[in-house]
Amino acid sequence: MTSPDDKKPDEGAADVPADAPPPADDASPADEREPPRRMRTAPPSASPYDELDAVPDALDPPPGWAGESPHDAIFTSPELWGGEAEVRDNDYGPPIPTRFPDVESVASEVRELERRVRARLTPVFPLEVRRNPPLRSILRRYSRFAMRDRSAVVDDMGRDPVYASRFMPALDFLYRRYFRTRCEGIENVPARGRAILVANHSGALPYDALMLMRAVEREHPARRQVRPLLEDEVFHFPYLGTFLNRMGGVRACPENAERLLADEQLVAVFPEGIQGIGKLYRDRYRLQRFGRGGFVKLALRTGSPIIPVAVVGAEEATPLVARFTWLARALGMPHLPITPLFPLLGPAGLLPLPSKWRVRFGEPVSLSSEGGTMDAEDRLLVARLAESIRTQVQDMIEHLLAARGASAFA
């Protein structure tokens, strides 16, 4: 019995029986051109012998062998195959007849795989059980239940769009109804491209980071997302850090910031850091030291404009009347905030008071005119630039405070 598809003009393959093992030169580099797993879409046939004979070869592919099933996109989409096993239409390589794996060799491959899998079984949890877990339907239903508020894809830095959109109504309520936020100068935020928002930090809890994100996302015509950089104490704080990370927050460090800016995103930094959150109510709106000017170095290295931002209202929303340090150290926190409501009302005391908020975006400061990327190591220059940004933010805060009037809540 000979297979008509095996006929090669110069080899006289007619005397090779179909059930003989494939010739040794079959493993030549020629079959490397073969698109992956094409035999999967071989047309169905009546008997297994027909299938053996009717296996098509590269010269006459059956019409529509690819693109028939929606799952064939898996074999042709370059992002799944890294662009290497790309299959183009009507491109079947040079006319070298290629044998396709017959049913027997596929079956032996499967047996080999099974044997290998068996040999690697761990005695603790057999693979059969892993593949067919008991109560599988319950597990599947549980998995769907557990995935209900999260996305199976997060971005590079851990922002989960489904999780974030779940909290949007609550944040919008806070932004519009509760804090009645007024946003000024949003036109200073560029519609595209990298930029660094430099804002003051205040209040016992980082509500200002969330409101700054909402302000840009709601008011800016391009609906841009802001990635706030969070200090270690906030980022690693149980629950709070995880929550802010899923909402878009990122741990503050030069590598992360440079990665975001290289991706042309908007980054918000709070150079006061944990000192800004930890300042007492009597020191409200008095800017602390602006770190070591890391944001200036970042702007110089990446060539990003700096946009000073002033946020007013956060100090009154969660006023910090005292700090517990010794107890907080035992709990692994920088300090334990004491607000008028917090320890008294329990966790409900962490809710903010309804102060009236104002957010002002200043004119972008482009540092490229001050010097090239070489100047990031010039400490005097960095300190001078950081001080000038700090003065701008402080001026904007004074301006907003004067415009606000006597009451912080009306």
Binding site: P36, P133, Y142, R144, A146, R150, P238, C253, N256, R259
Partner: protein
């Protein structure tokens, strides 16, 4: 795992690799990566001889022509001279004799991983092969508060203090780095693999995620990273084919929060405070119920995610399985079988 999986590009771009007389020596041939690499090398005409060095014969088909198995026990003090005579004439030495599980026999593991690396490097210093490759893991970066989201190859190897499993690997890396400085005639490549996940590979990660219940440290949900087993093998083959030097992170596409990984796998999270989890795991490890010691809980607390862009740039390696597909393949579900996951993605 077919041969057509992407050597064409490498061959076209690296014509110097047409040499047909290369001998490759692999320590740890019984590990998953070692065995799979031997199969690929056996099928590649550019390599003439493969030395499989391990205690027992690797689980290979019987009809291999190029591969020779030599029983080598790296924990024997006199293994050095035996290794040196075997490695004579080898073009590339691949050192992959590392454990895929943390073990209770910590001193034996130390002899195998740390001292065994010393034996291999001593033999390499005598013989002077052209290339030396170390198969390491991204665990050597260690979970730390101060880690950036994506660790480059130049990040410090903090390791995991208190875990001898990770410490031995860090020390092996340090020895290899010193060897690279002292022997510039040997091109040293270090491949740091993210935790391998897949249907056939067996390591502490697959054991951990095979349990129906998984511990969660309350309030902590770091991003996790895996590499699919077949991607890891492809990256290893590419690194063997190309004359690249230095450390490379071999990682899969994308990251997922630990809680999402558990939800996709249908595992039940058991939240507990850190000090409770640590004590519980110490007890479970002592009674050999848990697959990992208590120190590994730090991986569920802090970030340890490596950046694979250097491998993509210089090695041309890009993972075909992203993290969701690696999880699906590990579970043994095809995407079409599991509409829930597909729906959750959309």
């Amino acid at each position: 795992m077919t041969r057509a999986d992407g050597d064409n590009g490498a061959r076209a771009r690296a014509p110097s690799l047409q040499a047909r007389d290369r001998t490759i020596a692999i320590t740890g041939a019984c590990t998953y990566l070692g065995t799979e690499l031997i199969k690929l090398l056996e099928a590649d005409p550019r390599y003439s001889r493969v030395l499989a060095l391990d205690i027992r014969r690797p689980d290979l088909p019987p009809d291999l022509i190029k591969t020779e198995h030599h029983p080598i026990d790296l924990t024997v003090p006199t293994v050095g001279s035996q290794l040196a005579s075997l490695l004579r004439g080898a073009h590339t030495v691949i050192h992959g004799a590392f454990l895929s599980f943390p073990t209770h026999a910590a001193s034996w593991a130390h002899e195998l991983e740390d001292v065994g690396t010393m034996h291999v490097l001593d033999a390499c210093a005598q013989v002077g092969p052209s290339r030396l490759m170390l198969l390491s893991t991204t665990l050597v970066y260690g979970p730390a508060r101060g880690n950036p989201n994506w660790l480059g190859e130049s990040a410090p190897l903090r390791g995991l203090p208190g875990s001898r499993y990770v410490t031995d690997k860090v020390r092996a890396e340090m020895q290899v780095a010193r060897h690279a400085e002292e022997h510039p005639e040997t091109a040293v490549t270090v491949l740091r693999f993210a935790p391998l996940l897949g249907p056939t590979v067996s390591n502490y990660v697959t054991r951990f995620f095979s349990r129906p219940i998984a511990p969660v440290l309350m309030g902590h949900d770091p991003l996790l990273q895996f590499v699919h087993e077949s991607d890891a093998v492809q990256a290893l083959k590419r690194a063997v084919d190309r004359d690249v030097v230095g450390p490379f992170n071999i990682v899969g596409e994308g990251v997922l929060p630990y809680s999402t990984v558990l939800a996709l796998m249908g595992r039940v999270p058991l939240p507990m405070p850190h000090f409770v989890a640590r004590r519980l795991y110490r007890a479970l490890w002592a009674t050999q119920i848990a697959a990992t010691p208590a120190t590994f809980l730090d991986f569920l607390r802090y970030l340890c995610v490596a950046d694979g862009s250097r491998a993509e740039r210089e090695l041309g390696f890009r993972a075909r399985y992203d993290v969701q597909r690696a999880i699906q393949d590990f579970l043994g579900v095809a995407p079409e079988d599991e509409p829930d996951i597909a729906r959750a993605q959309g």
